[in-house]
């Protein structure tokens, strides 16, 4: 870790560093959530923040998601820049009214008087804990005008995107995939790591930096097919891209990074070069992220398309507990490979 140019961080550490750096330079940034203080957060993202910033900046809350989300909204309306952490993204439904009806609508309802610089952080993704601790919730909030939705795939992006989110004047949902943390889980054991997760974005500069919300990133350039993927699916898509490279098939892998706003330009210009596309997302299929990406390509890229854009998404089911069943529900490399081969036919 001595050579900063090659300093590596886990995504957990990168997220923590973005929080620490913003809290040091902006006294308006405060933190609320369950076990975020003394305990350091269920996934240890906020460890030692209470010690550094004290109880006026770091608030350990009772189990009252709707209540502390509303407190976050009220604090945001009155000059703070709160970070509200949910222990698992699945619990956001307990606070849904404050997010959808208040945080996201207040600016419009007030005729532009209100701004709600609130960042909601939540770990998500299927990691074997059953249907109430496994969901990917991004689509509900893409469908919530007034919200921004961020879903990083690696430590470097996570730090820059979170820094931007913390400086944004709108409510931002910042979703963190548990398999990407590289950190311990509340159970104590480390979250099952995923072989597909490569070294992408491991090197993270120590100084603070921003990555604009609404700007996609091409993780791998290619000319035969465009794959738009998020979070863990970026890594699985890259594995498949490596395999296909051996066959001379060049896959372009695009990570939107933010789903709202969505960088349609990067996606559509890629399509103009490849004429074929597959979208890969861990959320459930019906009316999900994949549907929006397909619709965007239908509207903006129809004449470029030589084949239908295919969706590779989670099956339309609550996430089952059994590992074999969960793995069947969540997209994997062979699902992605099969879809790519179909659009290349």
């Amino acid at each position: 870790m001595s050579d900063l140019a090659t300093r590596e961080l886990s995504m957990m550490e990168a997220i923590r560093e973005a929080i620490v750096q913003e809290m040091r330079c902006d006294p308006r940034v405060i933190l609320l959530g369950e076990d975020v203080g003394k305990f350091g957060g269920a996934f240890h993202v906020t460890h030692d923040l209470l010690e550094e910033f004290g109880p006026r900046r770091v608030w350990d809350t009772p189990i009252s998601e709707a209540g502390f989300m509303g407190i976050g909204v009220g604090a945001a309306l009155t000059g703070m820049r709160p970070i509200v952490e949910l222990q698992y993204a699945d619990f956001i439904f307990c606070a849904m009214d404050q997010v959808v009806n208040e945080a996201a609508k207040l600016r419009l309802m007030s005729g532009g008087q209100a701004s709600v610089p609130l960042v909601i952080r939540a770990p998500q993704g299927a990691t074997g804990r059953g249907a109430q601790h496994s969901q990917s919730v991004e689509a509900w909030f893409m469908h919530t005008p007034g919200m921004k939705v961020v879903l990083p795939s690696n430590p470097y992006d996570a730090k820059g995107l979170l820094t931007s989110a913390l400086r944004d004047d709108n409510p931002v949902l910042f979703l963190e995939h548990k398999l990407l943390y590289g950190s311990a889980s509340p159970g104590g054991g480390t979250a099952k790591s995923d072989p597909a997760i490569g070294r992408l974005g491991r090197v993270v500069p120590e100084e603070s930096y921003t990555i604009p919300l609404g700007k996609a990133d091409i993780k791998r350039a290619g000319k035969h097919v465009t794959v738009v993927a998020t979070a863990v699916m970026v890594h699985r898509a890259l594995v498949v891209a490596d395999q296909l490279a051996n066959e001379g098939i060049e896959v372009e892998v695009i990570d939107p990074r933010t789903l709202a706003p969505l960088d349609t330009d990067t996606i559509l210009s890629s399509l103009r070069r490849t004429h074929r596309a597959v979208v890969v997302s861990e959320d459930t299929r019906r009316a999900g992220v994949g549907a929006e990406l397909v619709a965007v390509m239908m509207e903006g890229g129809f004449d470029d398309l030589d084949a239908p854009v295919l969706r590779v998404c989670a099956a339309d089911t609550p996430i089952p507990f059994a590992p074999a069943a969960q793995d069947h529900v969540i997209p994997n490399e062979s699902d992605i490979l099969a879809a790519i081969r179909r659009v290349l036919e």
Partner: protein
């Protein structure tokens, strides 16, 4: 105590000067007149949206807000006109908002159920019952973090005390000794449901005990009693001693919304309460104490009526909010990223 018709608080004017008292009287009249004018506007022409009148409840809004400072915060409800008037939101802008005009407090984007004026610390009416409760607590938390002396008041109805968010917020406000004031406007009904039908413990102030918060019932049709209770609670909050729950016992003279007929209420009950009109009660007490003559009071009434006529004229003369106006208000431009 839920039925004021049996126990009224006497008016205690000690230490309150005439100007302050007449100011509260004027505020109550402004709120009353604002809504009564609207009532007839809704009857006589097609107005956009709907409205919920607080007619008969004005002493709660005015009494509480009179105990606050200009930079204190307020969150309100679907029945929020009186809170806005009390907090000093311009009548012109409020009326223009009801007409969906560009000159409205919310540029015509919010309407009756979302009236707000951040320059006045009025963080908004909320159309979601209970939604303003944690938001006021959040404003109180923010004041604490910023180290100011501000307090935050949340107004909400008896029905709102059955939303879980009320319970979650009170617990945190008490744990953290937030400078917050939770004002229950107990007007006896939540739409058609009486407090007895919807709350297992009709004494709503008593619910505060579950969070080690002092809870007090007040004659909500006595603006001075409300003011004194709110003042004590606000002072306590500023001293860092934590939140207070104030249950103001009152009654709405009109229907739940617009012309809702309130067939679920006994007309005799309505009549009994109308005899406890908070504005008349203050007027009588002021005259009895020689603090105002009927002539002075009529003068104020005339002035208020003129203000409202001016507000309506302002609204009518203002440009309509137009088709594309909303586009600029969806998201905030963030300069510094």
């Amino acid at each position: 105590m839920n039925d004021l018709t049996h126990q009224l608080a006497p008016f205690d004017f000690t230490g309150l000067d005439q100007e302050f008292l007449l100011g509260m009287h004027r505020r109550m009249l402004q709120a009353r007149e604002f809504e009564e004018q609207l009532y007839y506007l809704f009857l006589s022409r097609t107005m956009p949206g709907t409205m919920h009148q607080a007619t008969g409840q004005e002493a709660v809004a005015v009494g509480v807000v009179s105990a606050l400072l200009a930079d204190d915060y307020v969150t309100s409800t679907h029945r929020g006109h009186a809170h806005c008037v009390a907090k000093g939101v311009a009548l012109d802008a409020m009326m223009a908002e009801m007409f969906a005009k560009r000159t409205g407090s919310c540029k015509g984007m919010g309407g009756s159920m979302h009236l707000c004026d951040f320059s006045r610390g009025m963080l908004g009416a909320f159309g979601i019952v209970g939604a303003g409760i944690p938001i006021a607590a959040g404003a109180a938390l923010s004041a604490r973090v910023r180290g100011t002396q501000q307090v935050a008041v949340s107004f909400f109805g008896d029905g709102a005390t059955n939303e879980g968010i009320f319970h979650e917020t009170l617990n945190m406000a008490s744990l953290w000794k937030l400078p917050a004031l939770f004002v229950i406007e107990n007007n006896q009904y939540a739409l058609s449901m009486s407090v007895q039908e919807s709350s297992a413990l009709p004494n709503l102030a008593a619910r505060a005990a579950a969070y080690a918060i002092p809870g007090e019932q007040v004659d909500g049709n006595n603006v001075v009693a409300v003011y004194r209770a709110a003042r004590a609670a606000a002072d306590r909050a500023r001293r860092g001693e934590g939140p207070t729950v104030l249950e103001c016992i009152t009654y709405r003279f009109r229907g739940h919304a617009r012309f809702e007929a309130s067939g679920y209420r006994d007309p005799a009950e309505v009549e009994a309460w109308k005899r406890l009109d908070p504005i008349l009660r203050l007027a009588e007490a002021l005259q009895a104490e020689g603090l105002a003559t009927s002539a002075e009071l009529e003068q104020i009434e005339a002035e208020v009526r003129a203000e409202l006529e001016a507000a309506i004229a302002f609204a009518e003369a203002s440009p309509d909010a137009e088709a594309g106006d909303y586009l600029q208000y969806i998201t905030a431009e963030t300069a510094h990223v």
